[in-house]
Symmetry: none
């Protein structure tokens, strides 16, 4: 397995690198996001270990960008920010897992193995809906081959429809997908997002069921 380690802490980085090598994998170690981008562009890795705080920027936007470009390489986030919100943001940004520093090296091994198991021999399954190609893992949609750029909320909503094809999803459920359950919303936000989605996907892809909610159109 080829692993790219993006970590600026030299002590921790060396420890992680040695551990992974000890497991029989090959490791490239960079300390800056710029370098990481170059390395990823040049070679294909089976796993990226990504620190979120780096000298030349934050890791989260970097990861989002990566996913937006259609890259599906498994990413495990390494973070000192032990706040739950950061962890969730990481997962939502397209990370496959996260580890909070300082972490046990044995735990690193276990997660390494889990990710490897999850992804070996699994090219990303594509869901086809009329002229759309949806890659749930990569969070990407193509329409007639052309990559659509959905915003974060748009994707969350659309993902819901794809995961429950044919099922009617109420506006309350869609709200729950977008917002933490304690946050109130007092306007037609959902309708607006649906409208924006339809403009990108094609009007007929999302069907209104008056008084009940929305559902994916028949393929």
């Amino acid at each position: 397995m080829r692993v790219l380690l993006v970590e600026d802490d030299t002590v921790l980085g060396a420890g992680v690198r040695d551990q992974i090598k000890a497991e029989g994998h090959s490791v490239d170690w960079v300390t800056r996001l710029d370098d990481a981008a170059d390395y990823i562009a040049a070679a294909t890795y089976d796993l990226v270990l990504l620190d979120l705080m780096l000298p030349d920027g934050r890791g989260l936007p970097f990861l989002q960008n990566l996913r937006k470009r259609g890259d599906v390489t498994p990413v495990i986030i390494l973070t000192a920010l032990d706040q739950i919100s950061d962890r969730i943001d990481g997962l939502n940004a397209g990370a496959d897992d996260y580890m909070v520093k300082p972490f046990d090296l044995a735990e690193l091994s276990a997660r390494l193995a889990a990710v490897a198991r999850r992804y070996t021999g699994n090219p990303n399954p594509l869901v086809e809906i009329a002229d759309l190609e949806v890659d749930l893992a990569a969070k990407s949609v193509r329409r007639q081959g052309k990559l659509l750029s959905l915003t974060a909320r748009e994707w969350v909503l659309f993902e819901g429809f794809v995961q429950h094809p044919g099922q009617i999803i109420s506006k309350a459920q869609l709200e729950d997908r977008l917002y933490a359950f304690d946050i109130e919303i007092e306007s037609n936000t959902i309708e607006v997002h649906i409208s924006r989605l339809r403009k990108k996907l094609g009007r007929e892809k999302i069907v209104t069921v008056r008084g009940m909610g929305y559902r994916l159109g028949e393929t």
Copy 2:
């Protein structure tokens, strides 16, 4: 998505169950490994949330056994904070993820979504009535394969018939389904709705029982 929750703590269990339900998934909740085995054998789940310490045994051997039998249902382990070695063992035993108690419900959502990403929707159970296929979860009816679009009221009425097959339902009862119990109605609204329903479903699907109400036609 169908979720099996294996957790003996009643407070935590109830919270998790409610959260998952709020996301639109269906949940079965058991507190013993024996029961879990029965449930898994009887139905197919899309996700299992597994506590490791249960009254009738430990979850780890249970999980290993499950994997040994070739079951690949995604499993997320729920474990107390102080059992780090268990977490590693869990991942090695074939778990897809773990969560440390006490965990934030928002984090549960995120991880649920991560698992659901890989989940390719199993079709919901269908109720068959003559040439109709009824999907209660999706609130959809197909007639000879073609999707019918019922309105909100129509669906509520029809759902009532499907949930009580063969049973005679009075017009008063149907009114109660449509309207809050205090609202009065002074016209033949129910009859009109029945008429509209019959036009969509096929005249013979709903049988009039003069003086008493309506019931579903013989399958």
